[in-house]
């Protein structure tokens, strides 16, 4: 902060999202010593992104025509663009189901108010601009933000969540139903799958520090599928999860299938799906992922 004037310029652009990524970034304040923050409406009054930005972080999905405009303008003024969070990578929570009703309401009022027009769906950023680095997570932890900003090239990211979880997988504890969360007891130190939870940590990209599973909540997959499933249809990661549950539990197949196809998992497990369906999108190579 002392010699901020000479530091590289750093900007944060928020499109349609929840601000959670920005709140997380505010906890990794070490960037204060490495960058000059020139644009971040949540904490700084500045009306536009200046011309010579070194690093632009973009959170949120592209959901309105104004989002497209701001994203293109911001990216054209920045040397490096980092896409941050589930919404920036996939469009986000707005994709959870058909949103005709929401859009109808929105269009009705935007006509009345002359406010930004809503797009047919929420898009990921790389539908519109080149992205140099992807930082998945909902939101990414402050530590992951620092990794993305400081030493993305040397980053060693654990391949799956289990690597950091510390809970032990037992061979002789085989649940027969996925209703562990209703039991009123969560045993410490034992794998949540053994306890009848739909935990998808076995196939989810690591690096989060297993923040959810360690205190006893099943991984919902917010960091997205692990490297082997990048740029692949969701079927591949779901098949892998099916194999895990068949190997570790005696839960009937239909129950497993129903659980794996649920909205809370599709929000995150499908976050790379577009890449298998939309040819306009660049492939996300593992070198570009944090």
């Amino acid at each position: 902060m002392e010699s901020q004037k000479q530091l590289p310029k750093f900007a944060v652009l928020q499109l349609s999202g929840c601000s959670g990524c920005e709140v997380s970034l505010m906890n990794s304040v070490e960037w204060i010593n490495n960058f000059e923050l020139v644009y971040m409406p949540l904490v700084v009054t500045a009306n536009k992104i200046p011309d010579d930005v070194e690093v632009l972080l973009v959170s949120g999905g592209v959901r309105t025509d104004e989002d497209i405009h701001n994203l293109r303008k911001g990216a054209s003024r920045s040397k490096k663009v980092i896409a941050v969070g589930t919404c920036a990578l996939s469009g986000g929570v707005a994709q959870i189901r058909e949103e005709h009703q929401a859009r109808e309401t929105y269009l009705l009022s935007s006509h009345r108010l002359r406010l930004p027009g809503m797009l047919p769906r929420a898009f990921p950023l790389d539908r519109f601009v080149h992205i140099d680095l992807y930082l998945p997570g909902c939101p990414p932890t402050p530590e992951l933000f620092m990794t993305a900003l400081k030493d993305a090239d040397q980053a060693k990211i654990p391949s799956i969540v289990c690597q950091e979880c510390g809970r032990q997988k037992l061979q002789d504890m085989r649940p027969t139903t996925i209703t562990g969360m209703r039991s009123g007891v969560t045993l410490p130190d034992i794998c949540l799958i053994n306890q009848g939870y739909v935990c998808v940590g076995t196939s989810t990209r690591g690096g989060c520090g297993a923040l959810c599973t360690r205190p006893g909540h099943a991984c919902v997959g917010c960091r997205g599928p692990a490297n082997p499933y990048l740029n692949k249809e969701p079927k591949f990661v779901l098949d892998n999860l099916r194999r895990v549950f068949t190997r570790m539990t005696d839960i009937p197949e239909e129950e497993i299938n129903e659980a794996l196809e649920s909205p809370w998992l599709s929000l995150f497990l499908d976050q790379f799906t577009d890449y298998t369906q939309d040819e306009a999108l660049q492939l996300r190579t593992k070198e570009k992922m944090i």
Partner: protein, 437 residues
């Protein structure tokens, strides 16, 4: 007709103020939410037990309040009573959120207005100011971090927390972690008090400089904290009449008989009222309703506030000062609670899902937050989110009208107006993501 548009920064979400002027007279002063989230639609048809993971994503700033309100609403549907230990851990969680939010609003959002800076990260030209600013920013961020650390401790992670589950919480707070937290709180309490005093002084100076403390017409106040119990994990809503009497006291399921909620024609956010009358929620509502905070330092601040400004106090700048009282309270209360054993004992009970209707209430930093679900065949049929910011919409509009009239005259539009609308909106600390759920 002249229309002036002011984009807003240092608030949560995308919003702007639009003022219409004709012949030196202010016609309208509107606070417009510019985005729509649409969660009421997304969650229709979602398996009920999954909604507690989805709805925190309404807002990354307020995710803690949404998660707890969501779990409480489903507990109401399923007829589950969580064990007392879980209720206490949820309270610690909500205290953490209050600390995080009030520190952010005080020091990151509104303090720059008091020194005419664009942000607390802005570097001043003179060396003396630079050092002072640097230390202010460092302290502010450290205090804020106590809040996020508390949320992590009680909630698993500080954005979209996960430890609160239907039936209780997944695990307790280990003694060693609690002790570390107590140590940090004890270290930072005097620094917080010092910073709150500085802020208080800066605010008084700003009021003198401007010559006004903003809209001070008496109004209704809505909160779910009590006169002698500031518990945020709350159960009932309370309404104070303009003259200062607690005049209504109702349970969450009765809210429709007391609060009217409608769409607005100038914003994506809704508007609520008490039988058509303007209400205010957030810090000033809670402090006006509080006879005592129940912790020593915060009670001293409360006494100072009431002796200086009376009760109920109405000027909008008091919202900011009240956040200071609450910040001190939340730190003291969190320390008190962490001294108890939050590690051993029953943290959760089992449950059997069933269909029905349920309500989940918490006092969020911005006021009472209520989730209301209808569950049919195990799926969410309808979900309604009654958002604290929405309770302030009419009050924000009136305060903007007051300030616009102040700075628009036959001599033209005073350039102070742009800064003034920012100060007015920030006093209410609105959350646009939530308000357009």
């Amino acid at each position: 007709m002249t229309t002036i548009t002011y984009p807003l920064s240092r608030i949560e979400g995308h919003a702007r103020v639009v003022i219409d002027i004709h012949d030196d007279e202010v016609f309208r002063a509107d606070f417009q939410a510019m985005e729509m989230r649409g969660f009421s639609y997304y969650v229709q048809g979602v398996p009920a037990e999954q909604i507690t993971v989805i709805v925190p994503r309404i807002c990354g700033v307020c995710s803690t309040a949404h998660q707890v309100a969501s779990v409480k609403a489903l507990e109401d549907v399923f007829g589950v009573t969580p064990p007392p230990l879980a209720e206490d851990i949820r309270e610690v969680l909500l205290l953490g959120q209050l600390i995080q939010n009030q520190a952010t609003s005080l020091f990151i959002f509104t303090m720059p207005d008091r020194v005419n800076a664009s942000s607390i990260f802005e570097v001043s030209e003179s060396q003396k100011d630079k050092e002072r600013q640097f230390s202010l920013a460092q302290s502010a961020l450290r205090i804020r971090k106590i809040g996020t650390d508390l949320i992590s401790l009680a909630g698993g992670q500080f954005i979209h927390p996960i430890k609160t589950v239907i039936g209780g919480v997944t695990s307790g707070i280990p003694r060693q972690k609690a002790d570390e937290m107590i140590k940090t709180i004890e270290e930072l309490l005097p620094i917080t008090a010092e910073l709150v005093d500085t802020y208080w002084q800066m605010s008084l100076e700003m009021g003198d400089r401007i010559g006004s403390w903003g809209d001070d017409e008496p109004t209704y106040y809505l909160a779910s904290t009590e006169a002698n119990n500031f518990r945020l994990n709350s159960n009932r809503l309370r309404l104070m009449c303009p003259e200062g009497r607690e005049c209504q006291n109702f349970s969450p399921h009765e809210f429709g008989s007391y609060l009217q909620i409608e769409d607005s024609d100038y914003s994506y956010a809704g508007i609520s009222s008490f039988q058509g009358e303007i209400m205010r929620a957030n810090s000033l509502a809670r402090i006006n309703l509080a006879s005592s905070m129940g912790t020593p330092k915060a009670d001293a601040y409360l006494q100072r506030f009431v002796e200086t400004f009376g009760r109920p106090a109405h000027a909008i700048m008091f919202f900011d000062l009240c956040r200071g009282i609450e910040l001190v309270y939340a730190l003291e209360k969190a320390r008190q609670m962490l001294e108890c054993d939050l590690e051993h004992g029953e943290t959760e009970v089992g449950y059997t899902p069933r269909d029905g209707v349920g309500y989940g209430l918490v006092e969020a930093p911005r006021g009472p937050l209520l989730h209301h679900y209808e569950v049919e065949n195990g799926l969410i049929k309808n979900a309604d989110f009654i958002i604290p910011t929405v309770h302030n919409m009419l009050a924000i509009r009136r305060a903007l009208m007051v300030v616009a009239k102040r700075y628009v005259s036959v001599d033209g539009i005073n350039s102070e107006l742009g800064r003034a609308v920012g100060r007015v909106v920030r006093a209410f600390d609105p959350c646009i993501a939530c308000a357009t759920k």
